[in-house]
């Protein structure tokens, strides 16, 4: 702090308002306007304080004014990012001339306010006579969670008026009774903390930031905003919540965390991606959110992104704030901020994690004895198994699945000075899949740094590099949970010269373990993501920012197919193939923004204009060959027969986006908020020449109700804000490239006498020069509430999102010779929903706890596909072999997307008489059913069951999706429980067909014995084992997929300071963790979580045998920091 000039002494006591004085509060308000600064203070601090208007109006820099205004009255300040200044009580600068009495700040009776002490311990608090007898001095430091010292924290000895505040470095000294007591640490923006002091003389306290604090700054598109000023629907996820989670991606990390963000995982494969749907399907193919990392659009926030680098995630759900991303924002925007260095001491940390994984709840396929019994019951002669006990008894699923391993190690260093700061981290992760011959590993490196070149100029950089390598699982046609096997076939047969695999001579089932090793695959990928930015404050309030970024990717993949002999299924040496694929991609991005902030009286403006361009190119090539001379050969020249052609193929693509955007914020009296966003986007390869640019505006408003006078007296309600927004977003996802221009492609070849020659022909495509973005019109009404000093917060949002100009493939008459369809922007769809998020943070004695609940209801309705057609519908979805090629999902106007379509079933015919009178079955040679068959409902009453009797039999979209987070802490122990749940969802279970009968040469499960009349057994409520019951789409196979899952459980112990200080650490935590420990459901398939997944038009079809199952994790972890 610079020395103060001569100042007029201010009277500390206020006796009536002198005409030439200002209240300090008003003075600060004026300074805020003049200097576009923001002051943060406890309002009581300014009570009865006055200021010299001459200082306020003078032409001095802000900080000089503050020195003059604040210092004499015992206040200090500390500048923070974004023009914020914290104001806090401080000791008065000691000068020899000043009388001792001024050292003591006036006590504020409301606060029980601190008595100023000198951190150096030189001042006396001698006014308290008892002190001399029983008191001792306690010293220490208060820091925030980044370990930066917190100045101005008020410290109060509970039950007394004795207290102090921390100095600029967060240090304090306080005299306390010898017997100790309880100290209360409080600071605006942080959670108040009570610490019991017994005999120690040193005390270090870390205050947790109050994440619900209204002063919290959240990242928004191309900038930041105070949470209290938000007018849109933006949810935040803090790194603390997702730290240590065994998540594969950012998407996984969001599962169950944010109301309305529905993350489903179809696969438990290491590194597999999950589906994310924000507020329902926004388009016929669904829309994915835009991921923005540190201001740069980032593609591939999958497994290759190190989640541990994340400082915070913001999810923009409505159109207000998202419109600044225009046509990229249709699926919502996920803003990721990575960690940055803090000035202060160097922090070195290490996180480690080791765990094992096991599959759970897989079907138990029949073993040898049961299999033979069931086969005989199914009609095989017993003579087919002459000597059962001599046969092998192979449990194939046990052979294919093994214990997976998971390792994750991160090391980081961060730190900085007032001028420069950096964060450097590296991570190694390896996952050995639960399936044999399947692993994945990843290395990452991140360096973020920032440098203040001058007061007005700042540059920074991010660098993120990854290398991943994996051996993907080799999965046979019948899927990872393969039913097509025989327990009577051994896994190994040493006499088999080709691979040594057990041979199935009876049929073409093969050898599931041999399958898993039948191909050697290795994929590798390198990626580098770089960005550099520059901030230049041209004049006060006017900021220019440029951000340049590049993503460079390379991938390669290789496979070699081994020769094998599985009995009837063979791959001789001559048919082995190998192949290689290579590809590169590059993306460059530049954006420039100019922002300006201005405050005039009660009117607060800030605005931003920007320009952005993005270009991406990729290219790949791959080749295949037969006749390798070596196993795992990679060279295409070393083959036996060089005359054979070795095909190769490749392709390129490019993408360009050019945009301008702007935002205006206006606030009146900091009470009424208004925001306007607009963006204009052009997309090179997608928008047609007649619609080159789309414009996407949004407007939103907020009302801070608690700022109104009539709300001031409500003590219970600490915050209430109403938000309303409306806007239009665009969507180009799912729109093919160059649909607007006709083209020629490789056509038929002919031999006109001189050898075969290829031709070129017009593509089967009717160009649509009008092709353009889909429009998503979103209305959002939200209410944010805080109670009891924001210990309890709630957010409620209602939305209506209308998708217009939705792309639909209009059928073309084949006589046009241009293919089957043409894409037009003519469909319409709607999603409406309600979202609720609650958070409570409480404390009882040493026990701290928090409860977070979020839930969302969404209703999707396809309004129209083609207004000119009444018959339009889209048929999707695939089922397993038992069902042939039937597709159970229908997307029909008036219904949500992807409804199940099939027969209604009214139970099982219990008697032959009842069955005899049943309608004939068109899918069973028009025969009548028999006892034990399903009672298909003859909807049209024509005496036969055929396609005309099909109707809607299930809705795969959940009524409610929710997440629950329970955290508890007691002394060093902490417990974190995280639940996800889905309620009111239908699942189609085709896998039960395998479980209930022998399809072809497939195996089954013990459930086959429950089927009606099996092996002469009784008629039950499980239909007979045949294809007419198990291979037709019917309501019998639709199940309730609702579930509640304890997704993650973590128990941690933070070592006490006394221990870690000996180890020269500053913090250390050990924890145990488990994933997918408990599931509550009535669903009978493998896993309701994967069952409810799927793409928008064909979700909820649980072809579980085709899915790599999720697994249960047990792991041990360690977080230490030096």
């Amino acid at each position: 702090m610079a020395g103060s000039g001569p100042i007029a002494a201010q009277s500390l006591a206020w006796n009536g308002q002198p005409q030439n004085k200002l209240t300090l509060r008003e003075a600060l308000r004026q300074l805020e306007k003049q200097h576009r600064a923001k002051f943060i203070y406890e309002t009581e601090l300014l009570d009865q304080k006055i200021a010299d208007p001459g200082v306020v109006k003078s032409q001095q820099p802000l900080e000089q004014k503050l020195d003059q205004l604040l210092q004499p009255i015992g206040l200090g300040y500390k500048p923070a990012d974004g023009g914020y200044y914290f104001i806090f009580p401080q000791k008065v600068k000691q000068t020899p001339k000043e009388p001792k009495a001024t050292q003591e700040t006036p006590a504020d009776p409301n606060l029980g306010s601190p008595v100023a002490t000198d951190p150096a311990g030189t001042t006396s608090l001698g006014q308290e006579p008892t002190r001399l007898l029983t008191d001792r001095t306690l010293s220490g430091r208060v820091t925030d969670d980044t370990r930066a010292g917190l100045p101005g924290v008020s410290i109060l000895l509970k039950g007394t008026v004795r207290g102090t505040t921390t100095d600029v470095d967060g240090r304090f000294k306080l005299s306390i009774p010898d017997a100790g007591g309880t100290l209360v640490f409080s600071y605006v923006g942080y959670q108040t903390q009570e610490v019991a002091v017994t005999t120690q003389s040193d005390l270090n306290v870390t205050l947790a930031s109050d994440i619900k604090s209204l002063q919290e700054v959240v990242v928004v598109g191309y900038g930041e905003q105070k949470r209290s000023d938000l007018t849109g629907s933006i949810a935040s996820v803090k790194s603390e919540d997702i730290k240590n989670l065994p998540v594969r991606s950012v998407t996984d990390a969001l599962q169950g965390r944010v109301a309305g963000v529905y993350v489903t995982s179809e696969s438990g494969q290491p590194g597999a991606n999950s589906n994310i749907t924000i507020r329902g399907a926004g388009s016929l193919g669904g829309v994915s959110p835009l991921y923005v990392v540190d201001g740069m659009p980032f593609f591939g926030t999958g497994f290759n992104f190190n989640v541990q680098d994340i400082a915070s995630i913001e999810v923009i759900k409505d159109a207000s704030a998202a419109a600044i991303y225009g046509t990229q924002a249709s699926g919502g925007v996920i803003l990721i901020t990575t960690k940055k260095g803090q000035s202060g001491e160097l922090r070195v940390g290490f996180n480690a994690n080791y765990g094992v994984r096991n599959v759970f709840n897989l079907p138990e396929q029949l073993g040898r004895d049961e299999y033979i019994r069931a086969q005989i019951a199914n009609g095989r002669p017993a003579s087919a198994f002459p000597n059962p006990s001599a046969l092998p008894d192979t449990r194939w699923l046990d052979e294919i699945y093994t214990q997976g391993k998971e390792q994750n190690y991160t090391a980081y260093v961060s730190g900085g000075t007032a001028k420069s700061s950096f964060y450097l981290s590296t991570n190694y992760q390896r996952q050995d899949g639960v399936r044999i011959n399947n692993w994945l590993e990843r290395y990452t490196l991140r360096l973020n740094s920032e440098h203040n070149l001058s007061k007005r100029l700042k540059i920074g950089q991010t660098l993120y590099g990854t290398f991943t390598q994996d051996a993907p699982p080799i999965i046979p046609n019948q899927g990872p949970v393969n039913f097509r096997n025989s327990p009577l076939v051994p896994v190994y047969d040493p006499t088999n010269p080709l691979g040594g695999w057990g041979r199935d001579q009876e049929s073409q089932r093969g050898n599931a373990v041999g399958d898993a090793y039948s191909t050697y695959r290795l994929n590798g990928a390198y990626a580098a993501n770089l960005s550099a930015y520059l901030d230049w404050e041209i004049i006060d309030g006017l900021k220019f920012r440029t951000n340049l970024g590049a993503n460079i990717d390379h991938f390669n993949s290789y496979y070699y197919e081994y020769a094998f002999d599985f009995g009837q299924v063979q791959r001789p040496q001559a048919q082995t193939t190998f192949g290689k694929d290579f590809g590169t991609a590059r993306q460059l991005l530049a954006n420039y923004t100019l922002s300006y902030t201005k405050k005039v009286g009660d009117h607060d403006f800030n605005g931003l204009v920007g320009y952005e361009a993005r270009r991406a190119e990729n290219s790949n090539i791959g080749g295949r060959s037969y006749f390798a001379l070596l196993d795992r050969q990679t060279n295409f020249n070393l083959i036996q027969n060089d005359n054979l052609n070795r095909p190769f193929a490749g392709g390129d693509n490019s993408f360009r986006l050019l945009s301008q955007f702007a935002r205006v914020n206006y606030a009146f009296k900091d009470k009424y908020l208004l925001q306007f966003n607009i963006r204009r986007d052009g997309v090179s390869n997608i928008f047609g020449p007649n619609n080159r640019f789309g414009v996407f505006p949004s407007v939103s408003a907020g009302w801070k109700i608690t700022e109104e006078a009539f709300m001031k007296n409500l003590e219970v309600v600490s915050n209430a804000k109403l938000r309303v927004s409306y806007g239009r977003l665009g969507n180009y996802q799912g729109i093919g490239s160059f649909l607007f221009v006709g083209d020629f492609r490789q056509g038929f070849a002919a031999d006109l006498g001189g050898g075969k020659a290829g031709g070129f022909g017009l593509s089967n495509k009717l160009p649509n020069a009008d092709i353009r973005w889909e429009s998503l019109l979103t209305t959002n009404v939200g209410l944010d509430l805080g109670f009891f000093g924001n210990r309890l917060t709630a957010s409620i949002d209602w939305y209506n999102r209308q998708t217009k100009d939705m792309l639909y493939a209009v059928p073309l008459p084949p006589s046009a010779g241009l293919g089957n369809e043409v894409q037009y922007n003519i469909g319409e769809m709607r999603n409406t929903g309600l979202e609720l998020a609650l958070q409570y943070e409480g404390k009882t004695g040493d026990f701290t706890y928090s409860v977070g609940v979020n839930g969302a209801f969404n209703r999707n309705e396809l309004i129209s596909l083609d207004p000119n057609s009444t018959t339009g519908q889209i048929i999707d979805g695939g089922l397993n072999e038992v069902y042939g090629n039937q597709q159970p999902s229908r997307s029909v106007p008036g219904q949500p997307l992807g409804q199940f379509w099939g027969y209604l079933v009214d139970g099982v015919y219990q008697t032959a008489d009842a069955a005899r009178n049943g309608p004939t079955l068109s899918f069973a040679n028009n025969e009548r059913p028999a006892a034990g068959d399903l009672i298909y409902r003859d909807l049209n009453g024509d005496g036969t069951i055929n396609d005309n009797d099909k109707t809607f039999i299930g809705n795969p979209w959940p009524r409610l999706t929710y997440g629950i987070t329970l955290n508890g802490g007691w002394k060093g122990l902490d417990l974190r429980l995280f639940f996800i749940g889905v309620q009111g969802v239908d699942v189609y279970n085709p896998m039960s067909a395998f479980e209930h009968f022998f399809f072809n040469d497939y195996n089954s499960t013990a459930r086959i014995f429950e089927t009606s009349g099996f092996g002469g057994g009784p008629i039950t409520d499980v239909p007979r084992a045949n294809i007419a019951n198990w291979g037709q789409v019917s309501s019998y196979h639709v199940e309730n997929g609702s579930f509640l899952r304890l997704k993650n459980l973590q128990i941690g112990y933070t070592l006490p300071a006394s221990v870690i200080s000996k180890l020269k650490m500053t913090s250390a935590r050990v924890f145990v963790m488990t994933d997918n420990l408990l599931t509550f459901t009535r669903y009978t398939g493998i896993d309701p979580e994967t069952a409810t997944a799927g793409s928008p038009r064909s979700r909820g079809i649980d072809n579980a045998n085709q899915r790599y199952p999720l697994s249960r994790l047990y792991s041990l972890g360690l977080n230490i920091e030096f």
Binding site: P472, N618, G755, V882
Partner: protein, 402 residues
């Protein structure tokens, strides 16, 4: 002071940053004008005579697409006799055995669709020839002659396709008395809009007149032209005249038929071949010979066998799984597709006389349920499930940019 220095040097840096960015951005509108790297667009093709030849070649190749294609079309046309021994036994095959086709039959639908596809390509080729003829600078007389021949060839091919369409789908065989009954839609140019694709069914009279007029025009364009050597399979004048004779015969215009057929007999130099030749000539051997006026050329011994295919689709699936494609909108990310890719069996190879069947990947297609091809697509949609719009389930061409 220090601050000032920094300020200056880094203001320069700011400028450098700006310039760098602008270079990257290039200027406004043209930045967005890109062409499809995976296709020849109507803007840049066809622009040369050689380009036109590629289009014409495709038209010849397409004669196998429709009627003389692989099994489904032939099964409808020839009935089951030719194919009974090949063991097909699907619904369409059974319908063929019972002469019980209906509009739901894939085979029947394919005949309609593929012949019209061929017509569409012929229309596009004719338009390209015409455009070249009118816009190419300094067109030599020889090239002008060549363009005429090409136009004649394509008109013959278009007439050929309409001939089969009207025979399959016309309301009845044509006689003058039936001229008012329904023929097929006559489509003479490539549609530019959905509306233009809505074409009424022409009458039988209109349809046959259109066929005849195309052939008469070809007769003029190819006047006196016969092809030799490496071009001997092209449409020549005798093919046109012979076909005209046949068309007139179908139309019971006996006088005209007689004129053309007699001219062919008298002047073409063609004569009947002995049985030994004839017996084998439909098995792609002995071609062309002294009897044939026109042949759809099959190559009995393909110069390149295709032991395995690498198709756009199979490769793009790899690309999709690469994590590279992920920077493009709407494409699935790497890991999402890795599963699907791993599960994806080899792509079925196009079948037909010109394609050596690949060695059956026994493991891949061992499952007995349903025809392999359809199950392959089910699987492909599984990949598309990462983002279903990315690979259209009904498409064999893969993602849009391929």
């Amino acid at each position: 002071m220090k601050t000032k220095t920094n300020y200056k040097s880094f203001a320069q840096l700011a400028l450098a940053g700006l310039v760098g960015g602008l270079l990257l951005v290039a200027c406004g509108r043209s930045f967005l004008d890109t062409t499809n790297p995976n296709a020849l667009t109507t803007d840049n093709f066809p622009t040369k005579l050689e380009d036109l030849d590629l289009l014409v070649m495709d038209n010849y190749g397409r004669l196998r697409n429709g009627f003389y294609d692989a099994y489904p079309q032939a099964r409808v046309g020839y009935g089951v006799t030719h194919y009974a021994d090949q063991g097909y036994s699907d619904n369409d095959f059974n319908a063929g055995c019972q002469i019980a086709f209906n509009s739901n039959s894939n085979d029947v639908r394919d005949i309609w669709a593929k012949h019209y596809e061929n017509v569409g390509k012929a229309n596009a080729t004719l338009a390209a020839i015409e455009r070249y003829r009118t816009t190419a600078p300094n067109l030599s007389e020889a090239n002008r002659q060549l363009l005429n021949w090409r136009e004649g060839e394509i008109r013959f091919i278009r007439a050929w396709n309409y001939y089969w369409l009207v025979n399959f789908f016309g309301e009845t065989s044509f006689t003058t008395a039936d001229a008012g009954r329904l023929g097929v839609p006559i489509i003479t140019r490539v549609a530019n809009s959905l509306t233009e694709t809505q074409v009424r069914r022409a009458t039988l009279g209109e349809t046959w007149n259109f066929i005849t007029s195309d052939l008469r025009r070809a007769e003029t364009l190819l006047a006196g032209k016969t092809w030799e050597g490496g071009e001997r399979a092209r449409v020549g004048i005798w093919a046109v005249k012979g076909f005209l004779g046949k068309v007139y015969t179908y139309n019971q215009k006996w006088d005209s038929a007689k004129i053309y057929l007699k001219e062919v007999i008298d002047r073409s130099g063609k004569r009947l071949v002995p049985y030994a030749t004839y017996r084998d000539m439909f098995n792609s051997n002995n071609r062309p010979n002294e009897e044939t006026l026109f042949e759809i050329n099959y190559n009995p011994t393909p110069t390149a066998t295709r032991p395995l295919t690498v198709s756009a689709t199979s490769l793009s699936t790899n690309a999709a799984c690469s994590g590279l494609a992920t920077i493009f909108p709407g494409s699935p990310t790497r890991a999402a597709c890795a599963t699907a890719r791993a599960a994806l069996p080899a792509m079925p190879t196009p079948s037909g006389p010109n394609w050596a069947r690949p060695p059956t990947p026994a493991l891949t297609w061992a499952s007995p349920a349903g025809p392999a091809s359809s199950r392959w697509w089910t699987r492909a949609c599984g990949c598309a499930a990462c983002n279903p719009t990315w690979i259209t389930c009904s498409s064999t061409t893969g993602p849009p940019w391929w």
